[in-house]
Amino acid sequence: MTSPIAPAATASHRQSPPALTAERPVAWPKRTVRMLPNGLQVVLAESRTFPRISAHLYFRSGNAVVAHRSPGLAEMTATVVRTGTASRPSRRIEEDLRRMGAGLGTQAGADASSISAAGLAEFSGGILELIADLARNASFPEDEFERERRQRYEELRIERTTPGFLASERLRRVLFGPHPYAIVAPTEEQVAAYERGQLVEYYRHHYVPADALLIVVGDFAADAMLGQIEKIFGDWKAPQPEPTRSPAPPKPAGRRVHLVRMPGNVQTQVLVGNLAITRRDPDWYRMVLANSIYGGAFHSRLVLNIREQKGYTYSPRSSINALRQYGYFTVSAAVRNDVVAATLTEMFYEMDRMRSVPVTDEELDSARSYLTGVFSLGVATQEGLLNQLSTVYLDHLPEGYLESYREHIRELTAEDVLTAARSHFDSANAQIVVVGDREQISEQAALFGPVTEYDAQGNVVFPPPRDVMQA
C-alpha cells in the first residue's frame, strides 16, 4: 500500500486538537412501511453491507396485562413458544435455525412480547416462515413447559442474589405501587403455580396480528421482501385483545430509603429514582439532554464527580426509562460500603445543581453534539437500526421521529435543560434503594429518610411488619 506523502505534524499541530471537518449527512436507509389488512404493521429497512437479515415480530402486550393475576406469565409464555409447533418439535426448530445460520429469541417485557430471528439473507424466506410458525402454531409441549418452568425457578434464585436485580426490583415496587409496572419478576411460588393452560390462553389472546408489528432490517430488496411477508403472514387472522386498565402509580410523598439486606456484601448497590415521563411527553428531548449532562454519558457531571474525582465507583450512571404508560428516572452506582452516604450526597447535590443553576454553554454544546453523534452511530448497524425502529413503531411515535431527532436536540437551550431538571429530577420525592450489608450501611442510609428494610425475597424485615405497608 502506498499513500501520498503528508508533512509530519509540527509541534503546534500537536498542541491542540484539530477542528471537526464538515459533517456528512446521515443517509437514511430506504424504509418501507405497510399495514396488512389483518392489522399487522410491517416496517422494512435495507442495510446491505453484510449478507444477513434481522426480523423481529412484536405483540404490544406483555407482563403488565397479566401482572394482577400471574406475574411473569407473558415471559414464561414467550420462553415456551420456541419449544415446539404443530409441525416442528423443539429439536427440529433448533436444526432449522442452524441450517439457515440463524439465531432465535422469544421474550416478553412489561409492554411487549416478541419473536425475533437473525440469520443469513439467503434464507430470509425460511426465517420468516419459522417466525410465523411460532407466532401461529406454537404447541406448548407439556414436558418442555415443565422443564422451562424449573429453569425459570432456578434463574430467579440466582437473580435474587444479584444486587443490581434486587435494587431495580425494589425501586419498581416503590415507584409503581398498585400499577403492574411495579412487578419485574414473579416469586418462586408464582412460577410454581403457572399452568400450561394459562400459557396457551395468553398466547391465543395476545399473539395476534391486529396491533402486531414486524420489523425486518438487512440485505434484501424491499419489494420482494414485502411480497414474501404478505404471502407468509397475509392469511393470519385473529380478534384483537380487549385493552386493559391499570391503577395509577402512587403520588410522590417524600423521600424514603429502602434497604435490601445482603449480609457480607463487600459493595453497596445504590439506586435512586423517581417517576418521570414517556417518549410522548413534550419534555422528552429536554429530558434526554438533561440526563446526558447529569449522568447519561461518560463526560457527565456524575461520572466526573463520583468516579473521576472521588473514586467511589466504577459504574455510575443515570437513565431515563420510558415504558409505554409511564417513565422513570434513575441514578445508580455500585460503591464501596463506607461511602454510601457520601455517594447519595453527591447524587442529590448534582440533581439539585441541575435544578437550580443553568448548564454552561460549553456543557450544552458538548451534550447536544454527543447526542446527535451517538444517534448516528446507533443506526449504523442492522441491530442498532432495528432497535431504533422498534422504539418508534412500538410506541407509536411520529413517523419522522428518527429523521428529526437530531434537529430537535440541536434546538434545545440551557433553559430547556433547567425546565426538564426542575420537573423530572424530583430530588425531594426520590426513592432511595440500597442493597448491601445493613451493619455497614443502614446508619448512612438513614441520613436520607425513613428506612424500611427488606430481605432478598421482598419481605419487610424492619421496622416490624405491623408498622408498614408492603408496597
Partner: protein
C-alpha cells in the same frame, strides 16, 4: 450443501509507518461514521510477574491524560464530537477505540497519537484509578453471583506458567503496590508504535486517512522491541481439578476447559467447528444432553476464544446444574457427549449446518459488537488480531474458508487427540449457601 452463498469481501488496505506502526484501513461509506482503534500487543497474560492486574490498571491510566490532553480531555473531546470511546484489556492485547461521526476522524487520530507519544499522569490520577478498578473488581467479581466464573477461576487450575495462570484482574495488594514509576516504565516498554496497530474503519477516503495517520503518528519515536513473556506451558500429564467457593449463587457451577491446538494449524480450525457442534445454545450437543434430555443442568454452554488469543487458550464449557445432582454426575453426562463425538464422529448433516451457522455468526461479529453503538467493532478486532498475531490483516477475507473446509474426519480426529483428561481442567464453584441470600 447450500447453493452458492453470497461471498463477502471486506476492503482492507494496510501499510507500515517508518516507526514500525502498522496501519490498517477498511473503508465503508454506507453511514457517516468511523470506528478507530489502537491495539497494543500487551495483555494481562504478558504483564510482569508479581504485578497481577497491572495491564488493566494501566489501561485505565491511558484515559487520565497525555502530553496535550489532560484528565477528562480525552473523554470530553470524543463525547463532544458525538462519539463514544472505551478500552479493554485482553489476554494478548489491550485496545483503545472510538466510534465517531466521520467528521471527527482527524481529531480521534490526534488524540490517539498524543497518548501514544507521552502519558502525562500523576499520583493523584493513579490513586483515583486504583480505587475505580477496585470497585470494578467488586462489581464484576466479588459482589456478583458467579463473578469471574470461569474466566478468572479456571486459568489457575488449568495452567502452570504464571503468565497464563495468575489473577488477571489483580490482587488488591499488587494493585496497591503499583507506583507512578511502574506506570511510566510499562508505557515505555510496551506502548511503542512498533508494538501497535492503528485501525480505521468506515466513512473516509483511504488515501486521506493514511496521510492523516502518517501526519500524526509517524514521528512518534520507535521503541526498543518489548520483551516477550514466555507463555509456553509444561507438558500436562493428568486431568487438573479445582474447587472455589460460591458465596452468593445457589447452584453449583462447573467449568470444563480443554487446551486448544496451536493457532493456525488444521487442528485449530477443526476446533472452531467442534466448538460449535458441542456448544451454541439449545442446538449444541452439550445443552441438548445435559439440559433437555437428562435434565441434570439448568444451563450448559461454552465457547472457544479462538480468533483473538495468541497463546495457551481453552475451549470452555460452563454447566450450572440442579442441586439435587452431584457435580460428578453432571460431569459424567458431559463425558458421554465427548465420548460419542470421539467414537461416532459427526454426521455430515450435522456438521454442514454448523458451518452455515459459523459463517453467519462470523458476519454478525464483524458488523457489530460492544452493543449497537460501536459499528464494525468485530471487524476492527479481528483485523487487529490478524495483523498482530498472523501478520496479515487480509486474513479476514479468507479465514472463513479454512473453517468451512474442516471435514468430519478432521473434527473427529481432533476430538480424539485433544478432548482427553491430560488436556483438560475442571473447576467447580460450590455454593456455600444453597438457599441464597438472607
Amino acid at each position: 450443501m447450500n447453493p452458492s452463498p453470497k461471498k463477502l469481501h471486506i476492503p482492507v488496505e494496510h501499510t507500515t509507518l517508518a516507526n514500525g506502526l502498522r496501519v490498517v484501513a477498511s473503508p465503508d461509506r454506507s453511514a457517516p461514521v468511523v470506528t478507530v482503534g489502537v491495539y497494543y500487543q500487551i495483555g494481562f497474560r504478558l504483564e510482569p510477574q508479581g504485578r497481577s492486574g497491572f495491564a488493566h490498571l494501566f489501561e485505565h491510566m491511558m484515559f487520565q491524560g497525555s502530553e496535550n490532553a489532560g484528565k477528562m480531555e480525552h473523554i470530553r473531546l470524543i463525547n463532544s464530537s458525538g462519539g463514544l470511546l472505551n478500552g479493554t484489556t485482553n489476554y494478548d492485547v489491550t485496545n483503545y477505540f472510538e466510534a465517531v461521526p466521520s467528521n471527527a476522524l482527524e481529531r480521534v487520530l490526534w488524540l490517539e497519537a498524543d497518548r501514544m507519544r507521552a502519558l502525562k499522569v500523576d499520583d493523584e490520577n493513579l490513586r483515583n484509578q486504583r480505587d475505580v478498578v477496585k470497585e470494578e473488581v467488586r462489581v464484576n467479581v466479588m459482589n456478583q453471583p458467579y463473578g469471574g466464573f470461569p474466566w478468572l477461576d479456571l486459568p489457575p487450575v488449568a495452567f502452570r506458567n504464571w503468565p497464563n495462570a495468575h489473577n488477571f484482574y489483580g490482587d488488591f495488594a499488587d494493585l496497591d503496590a503499583a507506583t507512578l514509576a511502574d506506570v511510566q516504565s510499562f508505557f515505555h516498554t510496551y506502548y511503542a508504535p512498533n508494538n501497535a496497530v492503528l485501525l480505521m474503519l468506515g466513512d473516509f477516503d483511504p488515501g486521506e486517512a493514511f496521510s492523516l495517520a502518517k501526519r500524526y503518528f509517524e514521528d512518534i519515536p520507535r521503541g526498543a522491541a518489548p520483551p516477550r513473556a514466555d507463555v509456553s506451558e509444561p507438558l500436562q500429564d493428568e486431568e487438573r481439578r479445582g474447587e472455589v467457593e460460591e458465596r452468593l449463587g445457589p447452584l453449583p457451577a462447573i467449568a470444563i476447559g480443554y487446551t486448544l491446538p496451536v493457532r493456525g494449524t488444521d487442528e485449530w480450525f477443526a476446533f472452531g467447528i467442534l466448538d460449535r457442534v458441542l456448544h451454541g445454545g439449545r442446538a449444541g450437543r452439550v445443552y441438548r444432553r445435559l439440559v433437555l434430555e437428562k435434565e441434570i443442568a439448568v444451563d450448559a454452554d461454552g465457547h472457544a476464544e479462538i480468533l483473538d488469543t495468541n497463546g495457551p487458550t481453552q475451549m470452555v464449557t460452563r454447566i450450572f446444574h440442579k442441586p439435587e445432582f452431584t457435580s460428578d454426575q453432571a460431569i459424567a453426562v458431559y463425558d458421554e457427549v465427548i465420548r460419542e463425538v470421539q467414537e461416532q464422529g459427526i454426521p455430515l448433516d450435522e456438521i454442514e449446518p454448523v458451518k452455515v451457522k459459523f459463517r453467519s455468526d462470523f458476519y454478525s461479529t464483524l458488523e457489530g459488537g460492544m452493543g449497537s453503538y460501536m459499528p464494525r467493532f468485530g471487524l476492527m478486532h479481528y483485523l487487529a488480531c490478524f495483523t498482530l498475531f498472523d501478520g496479515d490483516p487480509d486474513r479476514v477475507n479468507n479465514v472463513l474458508d479454512d473453517f468451512l473446509a474442516v471435514t468430519p474426519q478432521q473434527a473427529q480426529a481432533a476430538a480424539r487427540k485433544y478432548l482427553v483428561p491430560q488436556n483438560r481442567a475442571v473447576l467447580v464453584r460450590r455454593p456455600v449457601n444453597l438457599g441464597g441470600a438472607e
